[in-house]
Symmetry: C2
Subunit: 214 residues, 2 copies
């Protein structure tokens, strides 16, 4: 006790300016585990999985979940946010391991998966991601950046035709993924992506399909 007091006196000026200590490793890890568990839970039980089930799957206590995410909506938003980030982060990784054309193709399939989760959680995402929100803006930016990079590289590598506007391609992907809300849409979207990719590759008919300007 005396020692304690002495120490305090000696270190009285210890924190003149907040010098944050390194964040704990387990905290970050648990956060990731929770997001993974949430995504899996949504997929398996639908949007109304109990938060306790999510915590159980992540192998953490319910209190931990609530410390990381104060509400259900915060959980949903985190899942969505990470989904978009992964889509963006996949780009360099794909470009490293595959030729540019193939990288673009694979990414387009990832995009279909992304839309699948987005559709699933959209109702609960609610106001957080409406047109105009910062979340929405960030997502659009990240995704546009990703596809632009991929297209540029594929064009540079001669894997796809030169007259591709990345925004048009993105619109095509969205169009392929939305609008058919039946059960088989995901498989259908995948097939359409493959066809789209074939179209991109063909240099022969470069003049036949003409994408609208903007």
């Amino acid at each position: 006790m005396q020692v304690l007091f002495q120490e305090q006196t000696i270190n009285a000026k210890r924190k003149p300016i907040a010098q944050a200590r390194k964040p704990r490793a387990d905290s970050a890890r648990n956060r990731q585990l929770l997001i993974d568990a949430a995504k899996a839970g949504f997929a398996e039980f639908g949007l109304n999985v109990s938060l306790e089930e999510i915590a159980r799957r992540a192998g953490v206590g319910i209190g931990t979940l609530y410390r990381h995410f104060p509400s259900r909506e915060a959980v949903v938003e985190a899942v969505y946010r990470r989904e978009v980030e992964q889509l963006a982060e996949a780009v360099p990784q794909l470009l490293e391991t595959s030729p540019a054309g193939e990288a673009l193709h694979k990414w387009m399939h990832l995009f279909v998966d992304y839309i699948a989760t987005k559709r699933l959680i959209a109702p609960s995402l609610g106001a957080a991601a409406t047109r105009g929100s910062s979340l929405h803006a960030t997502s659009v930016e990240l995704i546009t950046g990703a596809i632009t990079t991929l297209v540029k590289r594929a064009v540079a590598g001669g894997d796809v035709r030169k007259d591709i506007d990345p925004s048009d391609l993105l619109r095509a992907l969205v169009g392929v993924s939305y609008g058919n809300p039946d059960v088989g849409w995901q498989a259908s979207a995948r097939r359409l992506v493959d066809i789209l990719m074939d179209g991109l590759r063909s240099t022969a008919s470069a003049s036949r399909i003409r994408t609208a300007r903007r």
Copy 2:
């Protein structure tokens, strides 16, 4: 007991075919009270009012609510259904008490209110009212019928110009009501409705505004 038996014997052939007895008065009344309470509850507390709160407001037990509506979604659907019915039923009543032009005008304001509730409960209406459902079909039919009648009468009465396509007008109303999801949209929609009505009345510029065919 003997009497009982006799009666039964005498009336043995009472129900050769299911002959429903008249539904009880209190049942119908409670149903209405519940729908009213639900609409009020949604407006006051949002879409997640507890069903118990709704029952309380209606002055009935929770059991009664559940007998009438087996699920939350059923409650929401009933509210929506009645909203549409009221919109249709308002027509003859308006035409009785107002000149045809004014009746149309008033109805258009009712329509804005209708959209307000519809927007509120849409998320929970979910699959029940998607394009293609019978609920959706019925609603479109009722509403189209209503506005068509009103327009016809107003034209016949000389209150509005002759070149009005009811479907176009309906589209305009929808356009005026959707698309601006901010807080002031309802007031804005009302102002636009008034302007629209002024436009309908003016016979002078009948050629200036030309509605697209279908």
